[in-house]
Symmetry: C2
Subunit: 509 residues, 2 copies
């Protein structure tokens, strides 16, 4: 038996378990590929403070085969990094960093390339230029799944019209769907939560569509933070003690954690029976446990929240107005909060009335770090929080266990340095109590505003109805009086005017 | 930005995403740890054709901290393999093999050790002896999560009473629960689907419990098979063409695949515009595509099914009888079938009446490759197939979208060389059409038998009622006749006997 024991590369693992990454059906595979490429482009543009202009194109190759192209105007990628970013799973810059970004794991785009390779045998094609003064590079590469390493097939300098940007091309087996769950709808949802983005989209055999930005303002830059002590466990602490450059415990605590000043560092260390000058490497597992226990009893301020970049109420409203034709809009951005030491922040937008379907269940758009979530709605904290909110008290109908009914779009955004997804395919946010609570508070605030609007709307409608009655019946009374009393036309008009005026005045008081 | 790009080890990935492996809550973490150790022990024992005798012990260390010990009488592990099997994720013997086994990925036990290390800082302790003539070894090791490599802390020879076996000890933070979803219930469910296993269990502060085997017969050995051509895609074919030792395409097809003989090999190759003597390494991506297209149009027999080892109808019934006190039992083992080229087989057992709760929803026990599935019932093919079966036609009550109601236990086993789980934590089987179909057929067969039993039961109950009427009223008729006709006691008795006899005979016809 011993001879058969061997290492399994992470690429082999995910090849066999591709459903874990969102490649379980041909329709989903196509959408996931586009999603991963778009996520990467937007992260790169924002990190370089560039307003993103994306091109997304799907070229049909045969019935169930497509070439997906995503091109951006981002900062480009330095030549040396290209093979590993696109041809190695679990490689990236975002995993070891506490900061809000779309990508987290360093898996997505390589997995999409691997799926393409698996279903069509075709390599992934990358072109990238890292600025005017640099040459553009063309790469063709495949993944050696047994070693999880890129194998470069072609590598050459090319002429490129653009001064900077990256273009990715993946050929894959897939199924193209239009409509509510199609690619165009997905891209529209993306722009809805990213009002600074413009996407030019060309579906297979379709007209080019331009989904325009609602705002020229880039999102606030999200900064990197250190871990907060409340989110650290013994094992992680031991690792940090081993890895640190600090020579003394006090310095270690101050430099490696958020919100630990000299005073709290000293008190944590001394309360755990250690000295501030102890070398971090010499702290035993038992002492590390004592440190964790002390930390949990110490009052430490909440982590900084400049690691988050919410969309903002104003921009959510503007974006909703641009993307859908409703009568009324509102948005709520909550203050940041914390789960397991990780800062997070929730936002809710509502659009009501107008062209939205009045007799249908409300439409829920879910986002995590500005990325639309398309599947597993039932498993998502956002969905659960909508159900746990009593929308009837805001003037809507709602059956038990269901979304409210009415001409309503609910948009939910959860932003965090580490979104707790229920699976790697990032389809649903795990139901941490803290997240559910914040979501409910946001729904309540937005819901109250909606309730007021709906009530006001009802009052106006009542008024309107009464006014219509007056308009309708008073002329008849005029005609009747004229006949009975033998009034002249002028007298009749005067009676009608007086009556209308009196009733209007009585109606308004 | 380029400088921050770096490799993420699979251990780091799963440390941060521990919920993906079933360590998302302290209760689940404890159960998952036991599950992983038990799965490994059972796989090892069966592979070595040893009747498994397991010891499972949970020693309380402090309120939310436990030491989990699992010891087996298996073949032991050779010294050199121990560190990597227990201290490296994605390492094992089962991933690259098409054969029914509990473990698939080479992640489980190392992940459990990593979780223990993370929450308590304590290493994993392994003792193992690979036979009488070998020395027993004691290992203490941790995982270097940044490199996904084991770090051995202690390594020494020890005296061990047993001639062979393996003992694993993991200390972790957890919550211990009793009852329906507790550890003992889990182990009982394990023995239910593994009637050849005996487990001695000692919970924290509890009496020792012995869960006894129902059968001394080991399961049929599952053999390894080659992949079936229908389950192969272009990318995988290209990889196989690269890796093969065959020098000619014909030999390649015959040796690397199931069910491809010389005739079909030749016809596939020639229909794809290639020659049987072509070197596999020289087949282009385009030609590989042509091969795949031809394969899909070629009639190839279903894969061999000796890679599967079902429990068997007789043993399921025996096991149900031993484990629960019901009135009636049945079991159905379907013939093997195939999804995406992978052979699979489903089995269903029913227990009805007796001590089982009559007014509750039926209890569903789900198994995949003999391992109980504890979570995510709603997402599982087995659950969906139960709902899609009309149990009312078998004499049970059933509301829409719910399990049937009645004193019923439904046991479902899906065995396959590659069980398509919906997540790495292996909690639910994905709903492939072929699997759902087989499950429904098995439920129907078992359900029809149940329906006959329930109907017979109803007939017996009717009979019983009629008999009671006779017993109750005839004596009164006797008394009345005696009074009216002035009969003697003997005459009265004779009349009563004659009447009873007549009515009994009429009732039975």
């Amino acid at each position: 038996m011993a001879k058969q024991q061997r290492e399994i590369s992470v690429s082999e693992f995910f090849t066999k378990n591709r459903h874990l990454l969102g490649f379980d059906s041909p329709t989903k595979a196509l959408l996931t590929t586009i999603k991963e490429a778009v996520d990467n482009s937007l992260d790169a543009c924002e990190e370089a403070q560039i307003l993103p202009d994306l091109l997304v194109e799907i070229v049909p190759v045969s019935e169930n085969r497509f070439r997906v192209i995503v091109e951006d105007n981002g900062p480009g990628i330095v030549k040396e990094q290209i093979p590993r970013i696109f041809g190695k799973l679990l490689y990236g810059s975002k995993f070891h960093r506490l900061r809000q970004s779309r990508g987290q794991q360093g898996i997505g785009i390589s997995a999409a390339g691997m799926y393409g390779q698996l279903t069509t045998g075709k390599p992934i094609v990358i072109e990238s230029r890292a600025g005017k003064r640099k040459k553009a590079h063309h790469y063709t590469l495949v993944i050696d799944t047994q070693r999880n390493e890129p194998v470069v097939k072609k590598d050459r300098e090319i002429e490129w019209g653009k001064s900077q940007g990256t273009r990715v091309e993946i050929e894959l087996e897939g199924v193209y769907k239009r409509g509510k769950h199609g690619v165009e709808a997905y891209l529209r949802q993306t722009v809805l939560a990213n009002p600074h983005v413009t996407i030019l989209y060309k579906g297979p055999g379709e007209e080019e569509v331009r989904i325009e930005r609602a705002s020229n303002a880039l999102p606030e830059e999200a900064l990197e933070i250190k871990p907060h002590p409340y989110g650290v466990e013994v094992g992680m602490l031991l690792q940090m003690l081993k890895d640190t450059n600090s020579r003394q415990l006090k310095g270690f605590f101050q430099s490696e954690f958020s919100r630990v000043g000299p005073k709290s560092a000293t008190s944590i260390i001394e309360a755990s029976g250690l000295s501030t000058t102890t070398s971090p490497r010499r702290v035993s597992a038992e002492r590390a446990e004592a440190l964790i226990a002390t930390i949990r009893e110490t009052k430490i301020p909440a982590p900084p929240t400049n690691c988050l970049s919410p969309i903002g109420e104003e921009r959510i409203e503007a974006s909703l107005k641009l993307q859908m034709n409703a009568d009324w809009y509102t948005a709520v951005t909550r203050s940041p909060s914390v789960y397991r030491g990780n800062p997070f922040q929730v936002e809710v937008g509502l659009a009501y009335g107008g062209d939205l379907g009045a007799d249908e269940l409300a439409t829920l758009y879910r986002y995590a770090n500005r990325v639309p979530l398309q599947y597993q709605q039932g498993a998502c904290a956002a969905f659960k929080a909508v159900l746990a909110t009593n929308w009837r008290s805001y003037g809507l109908q709602q059956s038990r266990g269901a979304l409210p009914t009415g001409p309503l779009v609910i948009m939910v955004h959860v932003a965090s340095v580490w979104v707790p997804f229920t699976s790697e395919s990032k389809e649903a946010v795990a139901s941490y109590d803290e997240i559910i609570k914040e979501l409910k508070l946001a729904f309540q605030e937005a819901g109250r505003r909606l309730g007021r609007y709906i009530k006001r709307g009802k009052r106006i409608a009542d008024d309107e109805r009464k006014r219509k009655y007056i308009e309708k019946y008073i002329p008849h009374i005029g005609i009747a009086l004229k006949e009975i009393l033998g009034l002249t036309d002028r007298q009749e008009k005067k009676v009608v005017d007086t009556l209308t005026d009196t009733l209007e005045r009585s109606r308004k008081t």
